[in-house]
Symmetry: C2
């Protein structure tokens, strides 16, 4: 190794240590921090992240990257080290383009904006939140101006969460998805509806936790390198691949959400646990994007966890945990109940067949806001129109409408699309794995996920940030981002579920 | 405020954020970290502490301190700001005297030494640990050489843990303590022994936790600014005064240790929760010494928690928690059982009346090693001789003798004395509080600790590091460090207990 690379790795290693420390502090905040610690913890995380940023944007890092790029010229551009230098240079360029004063301004308004959103949602008053959202739109446009002009201004925002994926990519898959998902929902609404009342009776929380743990263990979650706790909002976080933590919660009115939530978060966690150990302390040692992350959680939650083969294996054990609730419910009835489709107002409660419509609505509104085609003051009306259009519903108030998500209040524009990209990619990966492993469904019916996990490890997890999302998809499937596999999956599955 | 002070406070604030972050990482390591995370966490803590150190030892901090000392000349030397500058200058001087290469060398040998100690203890083989201990003694002598010569070389080591307290101070109180504590133990051994078999039967763990929580709450522990968890070794840690965490453990063969351990750690925690909020992000916002810290834990655990008035209040509730074990045991018998004296080999299991003898033995050996009067190879023999002398016992092997404590394996020389200093100071504070509050014992018998906590807050907690231990004692009692109050407490209490 060259001296320049040695030095860069020392710097990146310390930055990685700080980022992992911040991740642990944030985990603690959600899980164990006593309420009185909030202000102190905010300062701690702020300082740790600020120092990590300052250690990265130095002139020295710039010189090292330039020298390494020159030294590497003519070498294999796909080697780990060449990719490390390229990814780090991309991060560096981004970090240097955004002035510190801008970052500070954004941090300042974020806190007020989030407060205003909480209050606006509590009182269902969009007017309370409107000026903050206007301020954020202006800020995002300023952010975009720091970067070279892209084909679409929204590309710059999307790139934060889904590097290399463009607005045109997203719009293309949405154009395919939208009409067929809307049509599918309407078709299913005409069929006899599914009875799932036995899913909405009391279930013992301890038994739900115990069963979830069984499933997560079967998936291959490594408990020596991870743990599971309770939190108000389920999440997964990696403090390096050797310490990956998931959280879940019990929702009495939706008891099985503890199981599906655990499987979802464990899907995220398997990704983090699978990142190559060699990347642990530098820029490649993290997930490549939120979309790819979501492809993992959705694949396990839906393609695996809401499938018939999966439950043909696990249902007897679930019945043993809950004889009173499920003892008299045959597998087929249970399978149909957990796949009930019901257009609803709230994204986070949406089922698999309607979820993308919630996402598309938001992304389209975001793009219109950034383009300036839509004014913030007209957003509630635009939201209502789209909800009616896509899901046939009109929210009775703003709290269950335009104010339901936290994302805009914290300036996370460009984020929503990753949920749907994750869905689409999950089906693409699923098909690719199935083509390579014809025993996919019989393995699953035997509770054996080892081949699936091994394939995901190689194809998706281990590379970390070495490949951008499009490259991951290309390497796994031989093609590009494609809505067709997911649409076919939805149509086939739900026509069968509703044929019953 | 001057610009220099502003700037210093910004730097100290960020350093405090890093130190708190490291404290949380270390808490997590002991409490929730999955085992696979150990190496990653070690790197994280190492980097965070290293950056905190680097941010402190800069020339800029030195210049700011010099300027502030000049600006302040003629002002009130006891003002918070003057003390802040003085304490920070003391820390700075220490930090600058020790070369980075030395710190790195010590960190390198520490890991090997600790490993060797674990192995030596497991096999009861002193020879395995001997070279590491020799290395550490040499290292400590080198450390001492970085500082101006003190009256005694051990002073420099002691100052790390008990600033301003000297070897002569410690030797003076030990000279008073030793003969009378040895005589007391021998006297008690002649009396009829106390039956405590009912304390060594199975107690339900959940009920022990619930009762401990009741007691800790009554002491005044603020649960909105703290929490309690399980860990292999009980400890308390402050992540600033708004997030103070204690841990406890259930030891089936010594079930009530969960209660006394919780009270002990809560005593530490009340100190941390009571440090003045204004000091939160600078050098004064921490405990002034381990001895003062221990004075708080010991005061609550022993002076309060093993007293008759305390149990006259809490015993009925304890009996309700454990009717089978304690229903037929009257208060007096219980009180005598929890105060049974039994010379034993292991310090951490020692009772109140023998504990100091364990400590004195270690401190005397440490001083002899540092002076060069004692060679490491002769340590086991010296240990055995002292144990026989003080406690009338001879350890059957090295594991239960010279190898029992972790301290020397991690280079913590100068630490042991703080346990006994804590005991002595706890009795001095207790008497001072009693003199100011004649209702001390009746309050206690009513389960009311509010006056005690309020007095400790003002006298000990709030000042943080503003005063060194001797100043705390002086301000609380009007006198200096004194063994007499603790000796009188022990003699009176235990003669009464054993008169029964």
């Amino acid at each position: 190794m060259s001296a320049a690379l040695d030095r860069l790795l020392v710097i990146l290693g310390e930055i990685a240590d700080l980022q992992k420390s911040a991740a642990l502090l944030e985990w603690d905040e959600q899980v164990y921090m006593p309420p009185g610690g909030a202000e102190t913890h905010g300062q701690m995380v702020g300082t740790v992240r600020k120092l990590a940023h300052e250690m990265f944007v130095t002139d020295e890092v710039g010189r090292l990257l330039e020298q390494l790029a020159t030294d590497d010229a003519g070498g294999d551009p796909d080697s780990d080290m060449a990719r490390l230098v390229a990814v780090t240079a991309r991060d560096y360029d981004k970090a240097r383009r955004v002035p510190a004063s801008f970052v500070a301004e954004q941090a300042r308004i974020l806190s007020a904006s989030q407060q205003a959103w909480f209050q606006a949602r509590a009182t269902s008053s969009f007017a309370t939140f409107q000026p903050h959202l206007e301020r954020f739109i202006e800020l995002k446009q300023r952010y975009i101006s720091f970067f070279p002009p892209a084909a679409h201004p929204y590309d710059t925002l999307l790139d934060e969460f889904e590097p290399g994926t463009t607005t045109a990519d997203v719009q293309a898959v949405f154009a395919t998805l939208r009409p067929r998902q809307v049509a599918l929902i309407r078709e299913l609404a005409q069929r006899p509806q599914i009875d799932d009342t036995f899913l909405h009776v009391p279930y013992d929380e301890d038994a739900l936790w115990a069963f979830s743990r069984t499933v997560v263990t079967a998936m291959g979650f490594d408990w020596t390198r991870g743990r599971q706790d309770r939190s108000a909002h389920p999440f997964a976080t990696g403090i390096g691949s050797n310490d990956v933590r998931i959280t879940s919660r019990h929702v009495p009115k939706e008891p099985l959400s503890l199981i599906f939530g655990s499987v979802h978060e464990a899907g995220h966690a398997l990704y983090e646990q699978g990142i190559a150990p060699a990347f642990a302390r530098h820029s490649l040692g993290a997930a490549t994007s939120l979309g790819i992350h979501e492809s993992q959680s959705r694949l396990w939650e839906n393609l695996v966890g809401r499938s018939r083969p999966f439950w043909s294996h696990f249902y007897p054990a679930l019945q043993q945990h809950f004889p009173a609730q499920l003892g008299g419910v045959p597998l087929d009835r249970f399978y149909r109940a957990i796949n009930r489709v019901q257009p609803s107002l709230i994204r986070v409660e949406a089922d698999e067949a309607t979820y993308n419509l919630h996402v598309m609505l938001r992304v389209e509104l975001e793009i219109a806001l950034i383009e300036g085609r839509l004014q913030v003051r007209d957003l509630p009306e635009a939201w209502r129109a789209a909800m009616q259009d896509y899901l046939g519903l009109t929210p009775p108030d703003e709290a269950t409408g335009v104010l339901q998500d936290i994302h805009w209040s914290i300036g996370a524009f460009g984020y929503f699309a990753t949920y749907t990209l994750g869905n689409l990619i999950s089906a693409q990966l699923w098909n690719a794995f199935g083509a390579a492993h014809p025993s996919r469904d019989t393995d699953m019916a035997a509770g054996d996920f080892s081949a699936l996990l091994a394939w995901l490890r190689t194809t998706v997890h281990a590379p970390g940030r070495k490949y951008v999302p499009k490259e991951i998809v290309q390497r796994a499937t031989g093609g590009g981002l494609d809505a067709e596999p997911y649409l076919r999956y939805l149509e086939e599955k739900y026509r069968a579920v509703y044929a019953g």
